[in-house]
């Protein structure tokens, strides 16, 4: 029970757990919309697109404060997102390719900027790339507070525009016919993804961020057909795996927090896919087996040969 006591008393563990929980909650809720709107890979593209923003923010301000880097990441991520939406809307390039182009080109440009920073030979740039690969273990109270404020604001927007977002996710045509500003709503809802990505970069890192967005929503979807319940469940799944990952990673040596969080949430997905009350695979297999048995019995009763 030492770990449980530490969860409340130990400064480092408390910060990691709180930060991961905030991230899980926010990305679970926002990612649910991405799952429903087939933007599951948006998080992957946006998290990579953040790199040049982080470099430029440092280049311009000389500061490595989390808020400064987060703003830089958000600006670049947002620009990448706008480009993706525009390319998809105005050309016949498919969404997957648009995501891939923005992902690689932004990230590649970011790598160029990193080498520019390295050449300037100031010690300060060291660790900039760490911002991108997650360093949950070094999370400070200040960072957690920043994450909570940003995430809280994003969740507030979802709460205020819940009905509009719901319509946009399930029936954008109908939303348009009601004269809702669907383009602006689309832009806003996708922009909220940028917020989630920026919060998550520093915790789980650029590669794992996409699972942090997609997995809780995908798991929640297997338990319910109602959006409000799905959002609540996804938030809970995200937060739970955040805390579980943080606790597990301190119980043994040399276990990085980010990957453990992702493995926890993946486990939740697997269990949900198999046993989810709404669409669990196991229930379907059992149903199919029963049908087959009934069919055989019926055919035997009719005197036919069993197949």
């Amino acid at each position: 029970m030492n770990v449980l006591r530490d969860l409340f008393l130990d400064y480092t563990l408390r910060n990691i757990a709180l930060g991961a929980a905030v991230l899980g909650l926010v990305s679970g809720v926002l990612g649910s919309f991405a799952v429903l709107r087939r933007q599951g890979l948006m998080g992957d593209a946006l998290s990579h697109a953040a790199l040049p923003g982080i470099c430029l923010a440092y280049l311009l301000t000389g500061s490595k404060a989390p808020l400064v880097l987060m703003l830089g990441a958000a600006a670049a991520g947002w620009l990448g997102m706008v480009l993706i939406l525009r390319i998809v809307r105005h050309t016949r390039i498919d969404p997957n390719s648009a995501l891939g182009i923005v992902l690689t080109v932004f990230f590649g440009f970011g790598v160029v900027l990193l080498t520019v920073l390295q050449k300037r030979n100031d010690a300060g740039q060291a660790g900039l790339d760490k911002f991108l690969f997650g360093q949950a273990a070094a999370m400070t109270q200040e960072q957690v507070a920043t994450m909570a404020v940003l995430g809280g604001a994003a969740l507030l927007v979802v709460a205020l525009l819940y009905k509009e977002f719901k319509l946009l996710a399930f029936d954008p045509e109908f939303a348009r016919s009601l004269a809702l500003p669907t383009r602006s709503l689309d832009l806003l809802l996708t922009s909220l993804l940028v917020v989630a990505v920026v919060i998550g970069l520093n915790t789980v890192g650029v590669v794992l961020m996409s699972a942090m967005l997609v997995a809780p929503g995908a798991a929640a979807r297997q338990w319910t057909d109602s959006l409000s319940k799905m959002l609540a469940l996804a938030g809970a799944f995200g937060a739970a795996s955040g805390i579980a990952g943080a606790v597990l990673s301190v119980t043994a040596e040399r276990i990085p927090t980010g990957p453990v969080i992702i493995l926890c949430v993946t486990l939740i997905v697997i269990v949900s896919l198999l046993f989810g009350s709404a669409r669990g695979l196991v229930w379907e297999w059992l149903r199919q087996a029963r049908h087959r048995r009934e069919m055989r019995a019926a055919m035997a009763a009719e005197g036919g040969t069993t197949p």
Binding site: R38, L99, G100, T104, T115, L281
Partner: protein, 370 residues
């Protein structure tokens, strides 16, 4: 060979190998599969090293390729279970495998040199340093050999299965009906993507491989609709971008891989704006032309409707057009001027009353028939 020549050749070969598989990946709308595979190979790499009891290149290669195929299979199975959409399936599978890889590395292999950052960054600048020794003799840089082999392999695959690839990409239903086994072709292609990603990332870095797979084919697809041209253009764009990017990187002393990717980005941006038919500029010019044509047609139809009626006098003034067709004064005078220049209408008096010409009447009838 001078180090610069080795790097340039490595980059050009990587561009060829990647573009050859990239074309079909992009046409199948699965561009991000390259990104997914490049991350998901980490646990396979670790497993390969573990089986070989050390960082053995061959074992790593096979392990990583197997992990790449596992990614494809898991994604497909998840999608086919219809419990999640394809994008979500990809987004679930590769981070899970990558997380597993990172965990394995930090738990069991922290003494072996296997930097997880290197999976993303890699460095083409080291290409000339690592040479391949065969029977005690130095036969040249390893990267050149491996990428040369990859390019040959991909080109052979493409040549042998060109018809099958083409058909199963553009019409999987027909391919299946004709007995071409689209699933087998799909897995073969994904296998090639996995092998290319694995072989490429050790030589030039994952981000460059992914960019070389995705960006040149998408850029080329803005310029042509024919498959052979598309393939040739993709290779050309990839090679040109690599060579220019390398030159720029040397001039500015920055990351070579990063600079090549940035150059490819610029090339894509230029194509996106200026492509002859699908470019954004050509598109907006076309829209503007259609808008003006529509305005002229609206004008002649309006005039034709009121021609010879009692209201002709009041309806056929330019000022009235603004109310009737909701045009601004500017739009009205511009459309009238254009219609006049096209010989569709002519002013009949000083107040600017408009009458249709014979040509204008024909156009109005044509529009009415549409």
């Amino acid at each position: 060979m001078s180090p610069n020549l080795v790097i340039a050749l490595t980059a050009a070969l990587a561009a060829c190998a990647c573009a050859l598989v990239g074309v079909f990946l992009v046409l199948r709308r699965m561009a991000l599969m390259a990104d997914a595979i490049s991350h998901a190979i980490l646990p396979g790499l670790v497993a390969g090293y573990w089986l070989a009891r050390g960082p053995n290149v061959v074992a790593g290669f096979f392990g990583a390729s197997a992990a790449g195929l596992l990614t494809v299979w898991l994604t497909e199975s998840l999608t086919r279970s219809r419990r999640v959409k394809e994008d979500t399936a990809i987004g679930l599978v590769f981070p899970a495998l990558f997380a597993l890889g990172v965990l394995l590395v930090s738990r069991f292999f922290s003494n072996v040199h296997l930097d997880t950052d290197a999976v993303l960054f890699g460095e083409i600048a080291f290409a000339p340093l690592e040479t391949w020794r065969l029977g005690g003799r130095d036969v040249g840089p390893t990267a050149l050999w491996s990428l040369g082999a990859l390019t040959t392999l991909n080109a052979a695959f493409l040549t042998l299965f060109y018809k099958e690839l083409k058909l199963s990409t553009f019409d999987p239903g027909l391919a299946a009906a004709l007995g071409f086994a689209p699933a087998a072709i799909h897995y073969a292609l994904m296998g090639m993507v996995a092998v290319t990603t694995v072989g490429g990332f050790t030589a030039v870095g994952a981000i460059l491989v992914i960019a070389l797979i995705i960006v040149p084919p998408v850029t080329a697809s803005l310029l042509t609709e024919r498959l052979p041209t598309l393939i040739a253009l993709s290779v050309a764009v990839g090679v040109a971008g690599s060579l220019i990017g390398f030159q720029l990187a040397s001039a500015w002393d920055v990351s070579i891989g990063g600079m090549i990717v940035s150059t490819l980005g610029v090339v894509f941006g230029v194509a996106l704006l200026l492509a002859p038919r699908k470019g954004l500029v050509a598109q907006s010019l076309r829209h503007a032309r259609l808008r003006r044509q529509f305005a002229r047609e609206a004008l002649v139809v309006h005039l034709a409707t009121h021609e010879g009626t009692a209201l002709e006098d009041s309806e056929c003034r330019p000022a009235h057009l603004q109310e009737e067709l909701l045009w601004t004064a500017d739009m009205a005078s511009r459309t009238v001027a254009e219609a006049q220049a096209a010989g569709l209408v002519q002013p009949v008096d000083r107040e600017g009353h408009l009458h249709l010409t014979d040509r204008g009447r024909e156009v109005a009838e044509d529009v009415a028939k549409r």
